[in-house]
Symmetry: C2
Subunit: 156 residues, 2 copies
């Protein structure tokens, strides 16, 4: 089921940035990637908090995240995955639409493992700022993002 | 469905530490809590990686996490939740059994939000060390953990 665009909180996401979708969820490349690979999985329905999702949406979201994580880990020859939901502002959420961060991990990608989270937190803030300023897509061009999404779309 | 004990990787978890369980998942208080509240949700079946879970297990695990998070957030008058899976050693996993960290969050609980993750990472390592040394439960007594679990059990 493909839409022509998707909403991520108040922001419109071009379908070119979306590389996988189901009835309830979609996976998009990140505007400000943390490592070369860092994607988001969101429910199609805009809700801020994880607890607002129905059981069908919750199941679908995580089965999607599982599938996406597995494919990207293998494709990028990684060996582990970080999955995080910053669920609510006091947990670092900036865009008020549930989203799972998925980051394939390799030995030595960060000097200390926990640095990934510092970086994640900074990126979440930057993502919001970027989306706010994003009329001109100064971060990554839509072409660049579309290219990454095209590449991942083939995996599913 | 209640078992007399649960396995967490190679470690036996006393049912007193478990405050909620379903056919596929269980929730336990943490041996080395990060904040006063920090619990884990695990699949009953011992698998190391998230992708090894069946769709039924995956759905149940996250519906359980959603329920546990919601109840603990409200009970502890928090306003957000951190959910994380460190899926594999390169993501900081120490015990080779899938587990979701759930941490209710409040304004100002950490000076900077990302400090939660530094702390999480340290705690994951300490948890492993503790479980390894844990014959005598030097961290938190079984009584103390049982008390916390009793308190949470009433919420479900």
């Amino acid at each position: 089921m493909e839409a022509t665009s998707y909403m991520f909180g108040p922001y419109k996401i071009d379908k070119k940035e979306v590389f996988y979708s189901t009835d309830f969820s979609y996976a998009l490349v990140n505007l400000r990637p943390l490592l070369p690979v860092h994607v988001l999985v969101c429910p199609r329905r805009e809700v801020q908090r994880f607890a607002e999702l129905t059981t069908d949406e919750t199941s679908d979201l995580w089965i999607t995240a599982q599938k996406v994580g597995k494919q990207l880990e293998s494709y990028h020859k990684a060996s582990s995955l970080t999955f995080t939901i910053q669920d609510g502002p006091q947990a670092g959420q900036t865009v008020p639409h549930v989203h799972i961060h998925i980051i394939p991990r390799k030995s030595g990608d960060f000097e200390k493992n926990d640095e990934i989270y510092d970086a994640l937190d900074v990126k979440e803030k930057e993502m919001k700022q970027s989306l706010d300023l994003d009329k001109e897509r100064k971060d990554r061009s839509i072409e660049e993002m579309a290219e990454e999404a095209d590449e991942y779309r083939k995996l599913f």
